[in-house]
Amino acid sequence: MKKLSLSLTIGWLYPELMSTYGDRGNIFVLKQRVLRRGFGAEVIEIDHSTTGKELSRIDMVIGGGSQDREQEIVISDLLKKKDAIKALFDSGTPGLFVCGSPQLLGHSYMTGDGTKLSGLGLFDMETIHPGAGKPRCIGNLVAEICDDMRYARGGMRKTIVGFENHGGRTILGRGVKPFAHVLVGNGNNGNDKTEGALCNNFIATYSHGPFLPKNPHIADYLISHALYKKYKKNIALKALDDSLAWNAHEAVLRKCGIVI
């Protein structure tokens, strides 16, 4: 058998500014799952010095959570890279944005003290932080992924589990679909049961920090789309032993009273 020399480049958005709580877990998972399939994996840390040319090499883009002040620094730099990010988005490059980073994708984000930050405008959605007086959305989050995504690559597990801790409330517009339907927790705004958003292959979720370890199906979704986009063909992923991951996933479901 000819040895595969496929490889993927993972773009990690502002690791220093967007790593509030274990966010790098997503990078560990993606990198190792790519390596365990015998492919090459490279992680590029995106910051203010990253050029448009470097961005164009990225096969997958990952964003974590940040505190409000860091978010301001990030968005002001990201707006300068808007064209390159939009090119990735339009071409079907997969992305995962957890915690507060989806706010960067929408039209705007109103912070707790009333400052309106512009977003990249890639996702038809808006976020408003109702101020320090309103309770934050904190706790375990369980949701069912939308059908579009679930059957895109021949069916996958229905549930996602995570932990949310956010002040902002997001309302989706017509141009974007929810990533999942909330079973337990708040999701986008605590009212309409939508959780996160999905557009092209960018996934936004209010789950924060290490979302992928307990959701290996989403990790593999990102990897297969990245391979498809880069090599223009479906490349089957070798199954891995995910028993610990599913045990951890199911422990959260049980904790939240979901019968499996």
Partner: protein, 434 residues
Amino acid sequence: MTKVSIRFYIAVFFGRFAQCVLRLIGKSAGGTWPGEIALFICPDFISRLKRESFRLVFVAGTNGKTTTGKMIQTILSAHSFSVRVNESGANLVNGLVSVLLSHPFVSKKPIVYVLEVDEASLPHALSAIAPDVLVLLNLFRDQLDRYGEIRAVVALWKKSIEALFPKTTIVANADDPSVAYVSSLHTGKVQYFGLEDPLLFQNKKEHATDSLYCPKCFRRLTYQGIYYSHLGIWTCGNCGNTHPDVALNAKNVTPPLKGTYNIYNTLAAVLASKVFGISAEDASRVLATFSPAFGRMESIAYKGRDIILLLSKNPTGFNQSLHLVLENKTSSILFVLNDRIPDGTDVSWIYDIELEELEHHKNLKCLVSGDRVYDMALRLQYAGVPTNYMFPYESPRDAIDNFITDSKEDEKLWVLATYSAMLDVRKILTGKKI
């Protein structure tokens, strides 16, 4: 200034009565209920105390409160003070009142209360009563689900220190930029401690590092060297905010416990004792016989084995524990991860720990347990621990039993556990609570 009223005495009576009842039914008297009851009856309980009849020390910070508090207690007790401390876990205002209630208000020796106060309760505690000494240890990432962002905590501390009673002496860690900065705003006396030892600088920056930015102007700080996390010799090139001079450094003390973090705890305790007129030499002599607080490097003999408990409840504390364990060339570690309220309900932080260090210790047996056993096992799997070296058990008792059957006499097991997990393990080993 005496403002004792009938209401106050009723509160004392019912608070103490509750304490007796709790003791009778076998609950720990250190719980917060007696304080809760007294405060319900007399909301301004604290301000009605005869303030001149006792002295008060607050120990605040993310890590090291219990050990530092116990060190201060040890030093002062050996110098004819009657010292009272709050039981672990009970470090809120109601816990404080519970401690006050659990002892007579008068004593032949001068009374000193040494109370640990968690970072979020500090502003509340300071507005309720001004301590004679305020020890500020450090601020690390911990339980975002409860305490919020580090920066919000710093802002709260800043506000309460600006309003602090000028007669309070602050004993502060100069190596922690946020702690040093907020302390510098105090109108009264501030005494700093720091390691001042470049040999202790670490080579590699840890991931879970929050405060590399100036707490005053938010620009990036320049470090001459880092001891661990964000503790080091720092300066801000932008606003001129810089590491203050220290009154006590690592060369002045002999820590009774291993680990860099225990040098800090020792420095804090010795410097705080100086405020009571005890010299660093005297304090160090007393500490030579110091035994650790429960679960803080506490060694328990169990079925012929030596089991050492290391409370590890946030990335910085965990990294320090792991460092210590690996230095000791151990053959078995037990990780116990819980997600109950005292542990923090969010376990995301385990991805901020430098578990990748385990790659260099291939033959280490990793036992895993706790409410979130699979989360921890999965984390270890991604850190490269091979399946045949990993043993997940839903029950901590099963994990310990496995170690007993699988180990030889005198073999050591190091246990890294979150707060409630540590209590669970301790109960298994000693057969009793706390």
